[in-house]
């Protein structure tokens, strides 16, 4: 997979810019706040149908304008294809592939496999179990449409059921038949989700462990764990038995929305016992493992977006990453850096073709083949 051309119109701080990307390494440089991360986000948007940073979709529209438009020319097995996205204030988002409207946005997920490494990965992945679930859901959704559909159905039913529980609590009245309708969806979809997650961990863990050891340069016994209510073969009974508790708490207390992906170092939870460095290695190894499992599943290299990694990683880990880059582990790469000299220097040993984009106030000032 490759992105050859990108047009960014009134997206975040960009007025109107066109980019022709290198099939190797694209280095986005410019001052703080110039729009480097925004450019990565535009790429992410075309792959994932939403921003990686801005949860309020309308706020991706440039402040002084009332719509944004993104157009990318991608290439898959030597065949170019176009992805188009436009959003106008107060209207529904328009998403097209090869000029054909995408009926359901979720169908688009996975068409352009992509990995984004961002500065707060380490914090997020080590902190909350919700973020870790989100990470695995994000990876698995890119690989499997059935998984994504189950997840959407589950989450929707969960939202409805929780709302229903709240209403019952307020009205002091219960419609057990209606709850049962939602229970059925949660149990069916939850079961396939838990099974898919557990199977996925089998493939993911060895890949992850290998990357962790490479990055940390140590043979530390690191492991991933996955815990789910559904591991219990009698879970359907337990779920039904929890109804009085659900009614009392006015929310669904059991299910895959409580699953936990854990990380352990020598059997101890990383969050509590890992050093800063170990936690960083861990986050980057997760992202690299994501790259590798996506590559295996898709039979092609995902796009790799590296935001500000030189600021966040120490020299040793940067060196490891540059080694991988030099040995051709990755395909098309975008990396941002506020210090062009540093990027030039670090990329010197990498023989892949390189292009530098100098960004200033939401516009590309200069392009340099390096």
């Amino acid at each position: 997979m490759a992105l050859l051309e990108l047009s960014v119109v009134q997206f975040k701080n960009y007025a109107e810019s066109r980019f022709q990307f290198d099939s190797g390494i694209n280095c986005i440089v410019g001052d703080n706040g110039s729009g480097k991360t925004n450019l990565l986000d535009a790429i992410y948007y075309l792959a994932m149908t939403k921003s990686a940073f801005q949860a309020v979709d309308q706020q991706n529209i440039r402040q002084s304008d009332d719509f944004f438009r993104l157009e990318g020319v991608f290439e898959h097995e030597a065949q170019p294809f176009k992805i188009y996205c436009a959003l106008q204030t107060g209207q529904k988002k328009i998403f097209k592939v090869e000029n054909k409207p995408v009926e359901r946005l979720s169908e688009h997920i996975g068409r352009v496999p992509l990995v984004l490494v961002k500065p707060d990965d380490s914090y997020q992945l080590n902190e909350g179990s919700e973020q870790r679930r989100a990470f695995f859901d994000h990876v698995m959704s890119q690989i499997s449409q059935p998984y994504l559909n189950s997840l959407l159905r589950y989450n929707h039913a969960l939202k409805q059921r929780n709302q229903l529980l709240k209403q019952f609590a307020e009205k002091h009245w219960v419609d057990h038949d209606l709850l049962t309708v939602y229970d059925q969806v949660l149990l069916t979809e939850g079961h396939s989700i838990a099974q898919a997650r557990s199977e996925f961990m089998q493939t993911f863990e060895p890949v992850f462990v290998q990357f962790y050891r490479n990055i940390a340069d140590k043979q530390e016994p690191i492991s991933l764990t996955y815990a789910s209510h559904f591991a219990d073969p009698e879970f359907a009974t337990a779920f039904k038995a929890a109804r009085p508790k659900d009614l009392a708490m006015a929310r669904t207390t059991q299910g895959i929305h409580k699953d936990d992906f854990g990380f352990a170092l020598q059997g101890l939870p990383l969050k509590k016992f890992g050093s800063q460095g170990q936690q960083k290695s861990f986050a980057i190894a997760l992202k690299l493992a994501q790259f590798e499992v996506l590559r295996q599943a898709k039979g092609e290299k995902p796009l790799l977006l590296l935001d500000d990694i030189f600021d966040k990683l120490d020299d040793k880990r940067i060196a490891k990453l540059m080694e991988m880059m030099a040995s051709g582990t990755f395909g098309q790469v975008w990396m941002t850096d506020a210090r062009p000299e540093r990027s030039h220097k670090l990329l010197k040993k990498v023989t892949a073709s390189k292009r530098f984009f100098y960004i200033r106030q939401g516009a590309c000032e200069q392009v340099e083949q390096g």
Binding site: H156, Q160, Q167, D175, L178, T180, V181, Y182
Partner: protein
């Protein structure tokens, strides 16, 4: 913001633009069109709208829009009373009628169950549907609700409630794309759907 030189136009445009699918620009075009016609044209239009709103009734049996206490479909002795098709809105009845493939009778729920939107079973015509049972005539209930999770939930819920009456239950074949509403399915699809319905367990 659009600038109008006339308060009267501004008011009319604001009202017309409240209709679904009509933006300010279209509203303005419609308002100017009315001004180009003779006065009786607008008079007749306004009266028709007022009468529609004031005199329309909902069928006491099936809740479809009607000119009389019982709608023309429920009154029609040619209709097959062994088939009952459950739909969300009167618009769905009109869509199915226009296919001329279905000869049974209807029940219009007036919505589908969605706690998030504050719509519970009590807010739609479920009780009145159940009160049509046990029925000496109705042999089969066909659910033609939208292919969304809310549509599924409603179908499933009512099916549970119909259990004691031992009536055959079916759903229309899903030739309709997921997520789309019934009213967007083209007529051929809908007609075929009713013929190719599947039994519901």
């Amino acid at each position: 913001m659009m600038q109008f030189s006339s308060k009267l136009i501004e008011e009319a445009v604001a009202q017309i633009a409240k209709l679904p699918g009509i933006g300010k620009k279209t509203a303005l075009r419609l308002a100017l069109h009315l001004l180009k016609q003779d006065e009786p044209f607008t008079q007749t239009l306004a009266e028709a709208l007022l009468r529609l709103r004031r005199e329309i009734q909902y069928c006491q049996v099936c809740h479809h829009i009607s000119d009389a206490p019982t709608c023309s479909i429920c009154q029609n002795s040619q209709r097959d009373r062994s088939l009952l098709c459950v739909v969300e809105s009167s618009q769905d009845v009109l869509a199915i009628e226009s296919t001329a493939q279905y000869k049974g009778i209807y029940h219009v729920l007036g919505g589908i169950i969605s706690p998030i939107e504050g719509i519970s079973p009590a807010d739609i015509q479920i009780d009145s549907l159940l009160s049509r049972f046990p029925s000496p005539e109705i042999k089969e209930v066909i659910f033609a609700l939208s292919a969304t999770m809310e549509g599924d939930t409603t179908t499933f819920y009512i099916t549970k409630k119909l259990k004691p009456f031992e009536v055959k239950v079916s759903t229309i074949a899903r030739g309709i794309p997921i997520g789309s509403e019934l009213e967007y399915a083209d007529e051929i699809t809908l007609g075929r759907s009713i013929i190719g319905r599947t039994e519901y367990e």
